[in-house]
C-alpha cells in the first residue's frame, strides 16, 4: 500500500467521522438560527431518540418502520421540550436559556442511564456490510450511507426553507422575530416547530451514528464537542457551513492525529481549536455565517 493510498484512506476516515459531526451540527445550527442559543442538550436528545428507536426494534418492530416512528416521536418530543422547558425562560437572558439546556443535558443523560443502563447496546446497521474499494482506498457502505443521508437531510432542509411557505415563515422568525409577530406570525409556534425539526434532524444523526459508536447514554457527548467545533467553523447560522465545517474538522483532526507526530492521537482534539481560531480571527462569523448585520 503506497503512502498516497494511506493518506487517502485517512482522508476517507476523516470524512466518515466528519459526516457524523456534521449531522449533529446541523441540528445545533437549526436551533441557533431560531433562538440564538446553543443547545447543549442537542446531543442528548439525539441519544434519547436513538433509544426510542432501539426500544421499538427491541419490541419487534423492523428498522424501516421504527425509523419513521422515531422521527415522528422526536419531532413531537422536540416541540414538547420547547413548550415545557424553553418557553418558561423565553425572554430571559440568553445565558439563562443556555444553562437550562445544560440542566436538560444532565437530566436526559442521567434519565437514559436510569432507564436503559450504561451497558452498550448494539444498534442495527441500516446499510449493507462491506464497502467499495477504489484503488486500494476502502470506503465502507456505512460511511457512504452516512454521507448520503446527511446530504439528503441538507437537501430537504434547503427545500423546506427556500421553497415552502412554512419555510419562509421560519426564516422570517429566525431573521427578525419581532417583525414576524407584527406580521401576525405566531412566533412561539414557529419556535416549537424549529425545536421539533432540530430534534428530528438530531434523531437522524443518532440513528446514523449508533451502529458505529454503539448506543449508550454517553454516545453523543463526544460528538457534541466536535459538532460545536463544526458549527463554529462553518458559522452558526449556516446549515451548509455546519456540514462543510464537520467534514473539515473530521479530516483535519484525523490527518493531524495520524501524520503529525508531535500532535499524535491524544492532542488531535486541539487541531480543530487552532483551525477555528485561525478562521475566526479572519472571519469572526465563521466560514459561511452571515456577518453580524444589524438586527433592526
Amino acid at each position: 500500500m503506497s503512502t498516497l493510498t494511506d493518506l487517502l484512506q485517512q482522508v476517507v476516515e476523516g470524512i466518515g467521522s466528519g459526516a457524523v459531526y456534521a449531522s449533529l451540527a446541523l441540528a445545533l445550527v437549526l436551533i441557533h438560527r431560531f433562538t440564538g442559543i446553543v443547545n447543549f442538550a442537542q446531543g442528548e436528545l439525539a441519544m434519547l431518540s436513538t433509544y426510542v428507536a432501539w426500544q421499538l426494534m427491541a419490541s419487534g418492530m423492523p428498522f424501516w418502520l421504527a425509523l419513521p416512528v422515531t422521527l415522528a416521536v422526536s419531532f413531537v418530543g422536540g416541540m414538547l421540550v420547547e413548550r415545557l422547558v424553553i418557553r418558561p425562560v423565553q425572554g430571559a437572558p440568553e445565558l439563562t436559556v443556555v444553562i437550562v439546556t445544560v440542566g436538560l443535558f444532565i437530566f436526559v443523560n442521567a434519565a437514559a442511564g436510569l432507564i436503559w443502563s450504561f451497558t452498550v447496546k448494539a444498534f442495527p446497521q441500516p446499510f449493507p456490510d462491506g464497502g467499495i474499494d477504489l484503488a486500494g482506498v476502502r470506503m465502507d457502505w456505512s460511511t457512504v450511507g452516512i454521507i448520503g443521508v446527511v446530504a439528503v437531510v441538507m437537501g430537504l432542509l434547503y427545500l423546506l426553507f427556500q421553497h415552502t411557505s412554512i419555510g419562509l415563515v421560519m426564516r422570517a422568525v429566525a431573521c427578525n422575530p419581532e417583525s414576524a409577530r407584527l406580521s401576525g406570525i405566531r412566533v412561539s409556534r414557529v419556535l416549537m416547530l424549529g425545536w421539533g425539526l432540530a430534534a428530528t434532524v438530531g434523531a437522524v444523526s443518532g440513528v446514523l451514528v449508533a451502529p458505529v459508536l454503539f448506543l449508550e447514554p454517553n454516545m453523543m457527548g463526544g460528538v457534541l464537542i466536535y459538532a460545536f467545533a463544526a458549527a463554529t467553523l462553518g458559522g452558526f447560522d449556516s446549515p451548509v457551513g455546519a456540514v462543510v465545517g464537520g467534514l473539515f474538522v473530521g479530516v483535519a483532526e484525523t490527518l493531524a492525529g495520524a501524520y503529525v507526530d508531535v500532535i499524535g492521537p491524544d492532542l488531535k482534539v486541539g487541531v480543530p481549536l487552532v483551525i477555528i481560531l485561525a478562521v475566526l480571527l479572519v472571519r469572526p462569523q465563521g466560514l459561511f455565517g452571515r456577518a453580524a448585520v444589524e438586527r433592526a
Binding site: 441557533h32 446553543v38 447543549f40 422547558v85 418557553r87 418558561p88 425562560v89 423565553q90 425572554g91 430571559a92 437572558p93 445565558l95 439563562t96 443556555v98 444553562i99 437550562v100 445544560v102 440542566g103 436538560l104 443535558f105 444532565i106 437530566f107 436526559v108 443523560n109 442521567a110 434519565a111 442511564g113 436510569l114 405566531r186 412566533v187 412561539s188 409556534r189 464537542i225 460545536f228 467545533a229 458549527a231 463554529t232 452558526f236 499524535g264 491524544d266 492532542l267 482534539v269 486541539g270 480543530p272 481549536l273 477555528i276 481560531l277 475566526l280 480571527l281 469572526p284 462569523q285 465563521g286 453580524a292
Partner: protein
C-alpha cells in the same frame, strides 16, 4: 423617596460596617462550630466563589462568555502543584506565581477574544477546556501525567492550635476575602465602569473614548487570574491534581454556577458556589439511583423561578419590599398616585436588571410575552 435616600445615606456607613462585622464574625466562628467535613465544604465554596467572581468579571460585567475557565482554574492548580512538588517552594509562594501565570495566560487569550463575539468566543474557550487535559497528560515529565500529583496541604502552625481543616479554611477565607474585595473594587474603578459601558453599548462606549480593546483584553486577564487563584487554593485544599479533575465539565459547571447564582451581582458568585457545592449532595439524597436526574431538574427549576439567578431572586424580593414601602410612602404624600401599571400587572418581569446598584436602568423593551391560545 428622596428624603428616604438621604436617611439611608447617613446610616449607610454604619450599617455597612455592621453587616461586614456580622459576616466576619460568622465567618470566623464557623470552623469552631461545624464538623471538619462541613468546614471543608465551606472551604470549597469559598474556592469556587473566587473562580466565579472572576468569571463574573468577564461574563456578568464584560458581557463575554467563557466556557474555558476550567482551563485557567487548572492552570492555577497545576502551577501550584508543580511548584510544591518539584521545587518545594512552600504554599505562600505559589499564590502570586499562579495568579501571575494565569493573568498572562488570560492576557494571551484576551487578544483573540477581542475579535470573537458571544457564542464564538464561548465555543473557542470551550475547546481550550477540552484540549487542556490531554495536554497535561502529554507533559508527563512536569505534570505527573494521568496519575496526577499529590502535594502537601498547608499545615497549621503549632501556636495556632488549629486542626488542618480549620487552618485551610482560614487561609482560604483570607485569600478569598481579599480576592472578592479586589473584584468588587475593580468594578467600582474606572476599569469596571468602562467594562459596564462596553457591555451595555459597545459602539457608544467606543465613541465615548473607552479604549475598548484594552479593557476587554484586561477583563479576560483579570478573570483568568481569579480562576488561577481559585485553582491554586484548590491545590492547597485538596492536595491532589490530575488532568481528569479538570475536564470541560468543570468549565460548564462554573458557568452554570455563575448564572444560577446571578450574573453581574456582587454576591451571586457566593450563591452560585454554594449551589455547585451543595446541590449535588442534595440531589443524591433525593435519589440515589440517579442523582443526575434530580440535579438537572434542580438547575432547570432554579432558572424557571429565578431567570436572573438566585441573587436576582433575592434582590427582586428585596425590591418588591422596597417598592411596597415606597408605594406606601408615596400614597402618604399623595393619595391620588396609583402604582405604576407594570408593578401590579407584572410583578416579576424577568428582564428587570439584576442588580439595581450596578446596572443602569435601560430601556429593556417589552416584557416578553407568549401568546395565550
Amino acid at each position: 423617596m428622596r428624603s428616604m435616600t438621604a436617611v439611608l445615606d447617613r446610616t449607610r456607613h454604619g450599617r455597612f460596617a455592621l453587616a461586614a462585622l456580622l459576616a466576619a464574625a460568622v465567618a470566623m466562628a464557623v470552623p469552631f462550630y461545624f464538623a471538619p467535613f462541613q468546614v471543608f465544604q465551606l472551604t470549597m465554596v469559598l474556592v469556587y466563589a473566587v473562580a466565579l467572581a472572576g468569571l463574573n468579571l468577564l461574563v456578568g460585567f464584560g458581557g463575554q462568555i467563557s466556557l474555558g475557565h476550567g482551563a485557567f482554574f487548572a492552570a492555577g492548580a497545576y502551577t501550584a502543584a508543580i511548584m510544591l512538588d518539584r521545587f518545594d517552594t512552600g504554599h505562600l509562594a505559589t499564590l502570586p506565581v499562579a495568579a501571575a501565570a494565569c493573568f498572562l495566560l488570560g492576557l494571551g487569550f484576551g487578544v483573540p477574544a477581542l475579535r470573537l463575539r458571544g457564542l464564538y468566543l464561548a465555543l473557542v474557550t470551550l475547546s481550550l477546556a477540552v484540549f487542556l487535559p490531554p495536554l497535561l497528560k502529554r507533559l508527563e515529565a512536569v505534570t505527573g501525567g494521568s496519575m496526577g500529583l499529590t502535594v502537601e496541604k498547608p499545615q497549621p502552625p503549632a501556636w495556632s492550635g488549629l486542626a488542618e481543616d480549620q487552618w485551610s479554611y482560614f487561609v482560604v477565607l483570607a485569600v478569598s476575602a481579599v480576592a472578592l474585595l479586589v473584584a468588587r473594587n475593580l468594578l467600582r474603578s474606572r476599569v469596571g465602569r468602562a467594562l459596564l459601558a462596553v457591555r451595555d453599548n459597545e459602539s457608544a462606549a467606543e465613541v465615548m473614548g473607552v479604549r475598548l480593546s484594552l479593557h476587554k483584553t484586561f477583563a479576560f486577564a483579570w478573570s483568568a487570574m481569579f480562576a488561577g487563584v481559585a485553582g491554586c487554593l484548590y491545590t492547597w485544599v485538596i492536595g491532589f491534581v490530575s488532568p481528569d479533575s479538570f475536564s470541560f465539565v468543570l468549565s460548564i459547571t462554573l458557568l452554570a454556577g455563575l448564572v444560577v447564582g446571578g450574573l453581574a451581582s456582587l454576591y451571586g458568585p457566593l450563591l452560585g458556589a454554594a449551589f455547585v457545592m451543595y446541590v449535588p449532595s442534595v440531589a443524591q439524597d433525593l435519589s440515589e439511583a440517579a442523582p443526575g436526574v434530580v440535579f438537572g431538574l434542580l438547575i432547570i427549576a432554579v432558572m424557571f423561578v429565578a431567570p436572573t439567578g438566585l441573587a436576582g431572586l433575592a434582590s427582586r424580593a428585596g425590591g418588591a419590599v422596597a417598592r411596597r414601602r415606597a408605594g406606601a410612602a408615596a400614597s402618604d404624600r399623595s393619595s391620588v398616585a396609583e402604582p405604576p401599571p407594570e408593578s401590579t400587572s407584572e410583578p416579576s418581569a424577568p428582564r428587570t436588571p439584576v442588580d439595581p446598584e450596578s446596572v443602569e436602568a435601560e430601556p429593556v423593551g417589552a416584557p416578553p410575552r407568549t401568546e395565550k391560545e
